[in-house]
């Protein structure tokens, strides 16, 4: 790494304001060729805004940008791309029905003399670039058929094919399983060795310290500091982000309750491939007791979300029995599940839970409107607002008022609104799927506490999470899944990340 050469990209004193908020105040950072720079910060710290400025999607109100030592403007995404800056967002920019090759070279397809696409060359060129990052798939495969991790690699391949100098990845690991994360980090390492600069935005500290040369931390729109990773203590990093130390993170409650009688009982639950898009479930047996949090661990594709959706009636089942509090329930739709006292906080907040254009109050009450009716028809808005106020206080939802649009809340507060929606229904069983995805560290701890409290109040909680430390911290008992089967069932006190990982990845022992 040539420290003397000017940085590839340097930002000085970047300020960006939106109505009512200063998203970025006087932020500076630089990244060099052959370096992976970690960009860390809680949600709302200003990372996304900074990314948008670097990728040309937004212009700063103040500050300068230099590219290879010279002042530059990045007024449009096109200008940024021409300099070799490519951003890979969480939501991929792929056309699902086109092939890998067409996506990699979209808009730049090699042509024959006739002006038609040179398909053999397109396939060959694509193969060249995908092999560089270890994506060994037929370039003529449709992107729709790829896993999330593979689609991400297609994005990286496209960036490489464009002769990019700086690749920015916005929380690229949030939807990946552990093995896929490891592969991605190796790819980042190889990009660094190829002389590219990488900005790696992440929530996960161990990933950042594992691959980055330096980390830049943002807090509340300001620069909290930039540190070389070598010799950096995890505690210091966390303090920079939140001003709290690591023990407070994922703190296990000291006292655990003795679980009561079985509230949710699942027997021989099966799904069929033709009816579900995801992993097929092969005869799941599972009990969740009153006051118990059962964590479900598994890699992506293990069938965790499929299990949650099948129990909740969101996807059809091929067979199996579900009992709540000892009596069998017929669940053929989410409506049935809710009637049986089952709630689901789904995996993807924005796509599956929230009505982004509606007010917080409307989002909160949608499932429980029956409680707020007069004459069985009219919504008693005062009662509704009072109920919301109750949950605002108990869940510490930070919002300006119930009339605020839910889209304007931070991820953590949005998730609390979704939780409040279910709590208003007083469920017997609550299934939470990735309850803290896209939620900042402080709010994560609050959500964890909340789940613990709910279990304390007698709700049977089933919690799915891709973060093993989270599963370990919140669960009383942990179930591991792999390829649509349960492969392990152990008390959280006896579980370790290594044990769980083994159960999640190795072939199941014959039952």
């Amino acid at each position: 790494m040539a420290r003397e050469s000017p940085p590839l990209l340097a930002l000085h004193g970047i300020t960006k304001r939106f109505p009512g908020v200063t998203a970025l105040a006087d932020v500076s950072l630089d990244v060099r060729a052959g370096e992976v720079l970690g960009l860390l910060g809680e949600n709302g710290a200003g990372k996304s805004t900074l990314l948008k400025i670097v990728s040309g999607a937004q212009r700063p109100d103040a500050g300068t940008i230099t590219w290879q030592g010279e002042t530059a403007t990045l007024a449009t995404p096109h200008q940024a791309q021409q300099r070799g800056i490519v951003t890979i967002y969480q939501e991929f920019n792929l056309v699902p029905d086109l092939t890998i090759a067409e996506n990699v070279f979209i808009g730049r397809e090699p042509l024959r003399a006739t002006g038609l696409i040179d398909w053999p060359r397109l396939a060959r060129d694509t193969g060249d670039v995908t092999r560089r990052i270890g994506l060994d798939l037929d370039p003529m495969m449709s992107v729709r058929d790829l896993s999330v991790a593979e689609q991400q690699m297609v994005e990286i391949a496209r960036a490489l094919s464009m002769q990019s100098r700086l690749i920015i990845m916005d929380e690229p690991t949030s939807a990946l399983s552990e093995t896929e994360v490891a592969r991605l980090l190796r790819i980042m390492d190889s990009l660094r060795h190829a002389g590219l600069a990488v900005i790696f935005v992440t929530h996960r500290l161990t990933e950042a310290t594992g691959v980055c040369d330096r980390v830049t931390v943002l807090r509340d729109g300001r620069l909290a500091g930039t540190r070389p990773v070598a010799g950096l203590e995890m505690d210091e990093l966390i303090r920079m982000m939140v001003g709290r130390s690591a023990e407070q993170l994922y703190r296990r409650p000291a006292t655990r309750r003795a679980p009561g009688p079985v509230r949710l009982s699942i027997r021989n639950l099966r799904t069929e491939g033709v009816t579900t898009h995801g992993t097929v479930l092969h005869g799941i047996d599972l009990d969740v007791r009153q006051g118990e949090i059962v964590g479900i661990a598994g890699l992506v594709g293990a069938g965790r979300t499929e299990l949650a959706r099948a129990v909740f009636g969101a996807d059809p089942r091929a067979g199996g029995r579900i009992e709540v509090d000892g009596s069998p329930v017929r669940v053929h739709s989410p409506r049935d599940a809710i009637r049986a006292g089952i709630g689901l906080v789904p995996e993807d907040r924005k796509l599956q839970a929230l009505f982004l254009a509606l007010a917080v109050r409307h989002n909160f009450s949608i499932a429980a409107l029956g409680q707020f009716l007069s004459f069985g028809v009219f919504v008693r808005e005062r009662a509704e607002a009072e109920a919301l106020e109750h949950y605002r206080r108990t869940l510490k939802i930070r919002m300006s008022s119930g009339e605020q649009m839910v889209v304007n809340l931070s991820g953590g507060n949005q998730q609390k609104v979704v939780l409040a929606r279910w709590l208003a229904l007083k469920p017997n069983v609550l299934i939470v799927d990735e309850p803290t995805r896209g939620v900042d560290i402080a709010a994560k701890a609050e959500v964890h506490e909340l789940l613990d409290e709910l279990a304390g109040n007698g709700i049977a909680v089933m919690a799915i999470s891709s973060e093993l430390p989270e599963v370990l911290a919140i669960s009383d008992r942990i179930i591991t899944m792999r390829e649509g089967r349960i492969t392990g069932d152990l008390p959280a006190a006896e579980a370790t990340q290594e044990k769980l990982m083994a159960l999640m990845t190795l072939a199941p022992v014959d039952a």
């Binding site: 009512g20 109100d61 103040a62 500050g63 739709s333 809710i338 009505f355 949608i366």
Partner: protein, 339 residues
Amino acid sequence: MSQTATEPSATRRPDAATLLGRVAPLVFLLVLMFVFSVLEPRFLSELNLFNVMRQISITGLIALGMTFVILTGGIDLSVGSVVALAGLVAGALNKGSSANSLSLDDTVAAGYPLIVSVGAAALVGLGAGLVQGVAITTLDVPPFVVTLGGLSAFRGAALLYSGGGPISSFDDTYRFWGQGKIGPMPVPVIVFLGFALLCHIVLRHTRYGRHVYAVGGNAEAARLSGLNVRALTLSVYVIVGLFAGIAGFVLSSRLNSAEAVAGLGYELTVIASVVIGGTSLFGGIGSVAGTVVGAILIGVLINGLVLMNVSPYVQQIIIGVIIVLAVAFDRFVKGRRRR
């Protein structure tokens, strides 16, 4: 440290943009009315204003129902044809037969009482909406296609039923609903505003209204919140059908004639009213108040242009341009709000 740093004022781009988006149709309407009243003094006369209101009351009625449909992210192109069919059925029942009655002896007409005509018109509309709603929700065919089919099929049914000719000369109680006045207010205007108030209350203050917004805002989230998305989707087509049926009756009453070509092209005016009123074609955003303003806006525009002797051909061009501009403006305001 930053030599090019410029301090922007702290109050830049207030959230007034949101507010502006909401009141823009009303502001535009007032501006339009001001301009017309300056250019053409006759515009502001009481007679003319009531005239405008009476003209919009029929498409306005349908636009109320269409607001429900568009709020769910759907569309109904068949309303004009349903108007014709419902009007014919209502008219025929008033006359006692569907025979083309240009004969002069309508004093001997032994028709059914008004309530039968109105009920039948409502039932025709309701049935049309039900059939289309079922097709949309169970056959999984997009609303655009189903109601495009309905546009053709119901027009065909109307032609078949009437045998091509009009049914005219209804009795007094029948004509009252389209031609009568209560004080200075034309009856169809009262019907329109009454239903508008009802729809406003339903959408704003009932559980059903909340559910309509939820289905349009995010159908999957609505399903996972326990809403019966299929039934809700079906219901909005029944509602718009019902309004088209009632509108068909009112139209025949106003014209004192029902014919198979009535309501031609109404879908354009109706959808334009809803969209100009700020309801998003993608669903989840919009209001009855907006639709009422949108309907009046189109009425005022046409009326003003007529008073100024602008050719009807040019009027159509202007309406077309306004529809596109209204949506463009809406998108612009909403785009701004997004980070």
